[in-house]
Symmetry: C2
């Protein structure tokens, strides 16, 4: 069993990005600039955003963070999005989700210029991804593909079973892996809350991607011997023995499942670090004008 | 075994649409107007377009057909698209595919205002469909869902296997059936040219949708007893005993497979007529301003 070390892959990719940035700067170009909009003080959002800012520094990017209290109006937020759309110094930007309930998230996502939508959530990027056209690909699914590629895991003709049909992981990763591409060319099955005989299906998976947000959901009897298991779960549960008072749990019962796998991602340190790296890569592509 | 009669369902839906149109006209509104752009003289394209014009008449729509020789330049075609985008009398329009090789199809598709894209091929409509937002849904997949609905075929929790990953059928029908909706909520598997053990997978299908364009590909041993089989294939093969000199072949070996099915679509007369009806329904929705 090989433990997929997302942390070290992420580090290596960030170093490659940083080298490209230095070459750009040496050639007289300005540094890529990622802006982030953060509303409120949710613990998860705060820590994701802090990680993004830190990653920008590691990649040699300029970053800026625009903070709002959770009383911000939708109008004010949309005005900020519009300002960032029109700021020629900003290559890409993200609005950290979730947003407070009085703000229409979808409206905010669609207000972002798709050419700066480095999160890949805008319908144009989602549609182009599905069609198989160049686009900003959603960060977590793209991070999973980068891991498969890095570990030279064959995907062509493999049966990939995706647990979960969220718009940010399940649907896009299924859509990416079914494309005639490498990584890709998988036979793909999507399972979700309405699926019957879940274990019967997951046991057929050569590659199993768990993204349902249900801690330790995947047990040993749901996994085929030699499978590749990618755990996208990141549920915070209270813990008495950690400094923070909580611990991150994946969707896979790691202790049970790991011995059966050819490859498995840990939580934390698997998919998580790759999500941010994909975002960095999208920002670099935006600055280089390589997508649009 | 029940034969799914797409022709009669299509007729019934067109009558419903026509009734809605007459009510609109009685209320002082103008008739929905669908425009079509046809390049060249391909036999299939000519006959599809003629059918669309005929269906418009049956639904009480205004229709107009813009014809070009296959020597038309991309520039001229894009100018036509732009004119239709800006014509307030046109509710929706289609550009019949395929286009001659010197014209970039994707560029033409993306030039269409997504609010008039009743074929549902524009990335914005594809993306919104995948996300689960209101949009113009691609006509053939939507026609399949209408058939499932008409025959009250339960889809929730069923395993739907889709053969084919084209942008106009395989990918969108998979995307629609996985949504938390009715019809929908299926466990969905997509198979394609790189799939191994195809028969092993298709035999698990409660609903099997064949859209690979390979005549009589699906044989009896690939189908579970009691399955619902939807045949999207429309390959024209030469025939000595027909007036036209050709005959339409589906992707399913109907004679072998039909006896095992609970429901099956014939070719012709199954999915085909529903594709045009979906287009009519999208045009009505466009005229009513119900999507955008």
């Amino acid at each position: 069993m090989t433990l997929i070390d997302g942390k070290s892959v992420a580090k290596a990719v960030k170093q490659e990005i940083a080298a490209q940035v230095e070459a750009m700067v040496a050639a007289g170009k300005r540094r890529p600039h990622l802006a982030g909009v953060l509303v409120g003080h949710d613990g998860g959002s705060e820590s994701y955003m802090a990680n993004k800012v830190k990653s920008c520094a590691e990649c040699g990017f300029k970053s800026s963070l625009l903070r709002f209290e959770d009383t911000v109006s939708e109008e004010e937020l949309l005005a900020t999005v519009n300002k960032l759309n029109n700021d020629p110094d900003v290559d890409g930007f993200i609005v950290q989700l979730p947003l407070p309930k009085h703000i229409d998230e979808q409206k905010v996502i669609e207000a972002i210029d798709y050419r700066k939508d480095v999160d890949g959530f805008h319908p144009i990027n989602v549609g182009r991804m599905m069609i198989g056209l160049p686009c900003f690909r959603s960060a977590t699914p793209q991070g999973i593909l980068m891991l498969l590629e890095h570990y030279q895991i064959e995907t062509r003709g493999k049966h990939c079973v995706v647990l979960g049909r969220s718009n940010i992981v399940g649907k896009p990763v299924a859509s990416m892996l079914v494309q005639k591409a490498n990584p890709g060319n998988c036979t793909v099955t999507i399972c979700h809350s309405a699926t019957k005989n879940m274990a019967e299906i997951t046991r057929q998976a050569d590659i199993l991607i768990a993204a349902i947000g249900s801690p330790e959901f995947v047990k040993a009897d749901m996994v085929k011997d030699g499978a590749v298991v990618i755990d996208v779960g990141t549920t915070r549960l209270p813990a008495s023995d950690t400094k923070s008072g909580w611990r991150l749990h994946g969707d896979v019962d790691f202790e049970q499942v790991a011995p059966k796998c050819s490859y498995i991602t840990p939580v934390p340190g698997g998919v998580g670090p790759m999500t941010i790296v994909s975002l960095m890569q999208n920002t670099l592509l935006a600055a280089q004008g390589k997508i649009y």
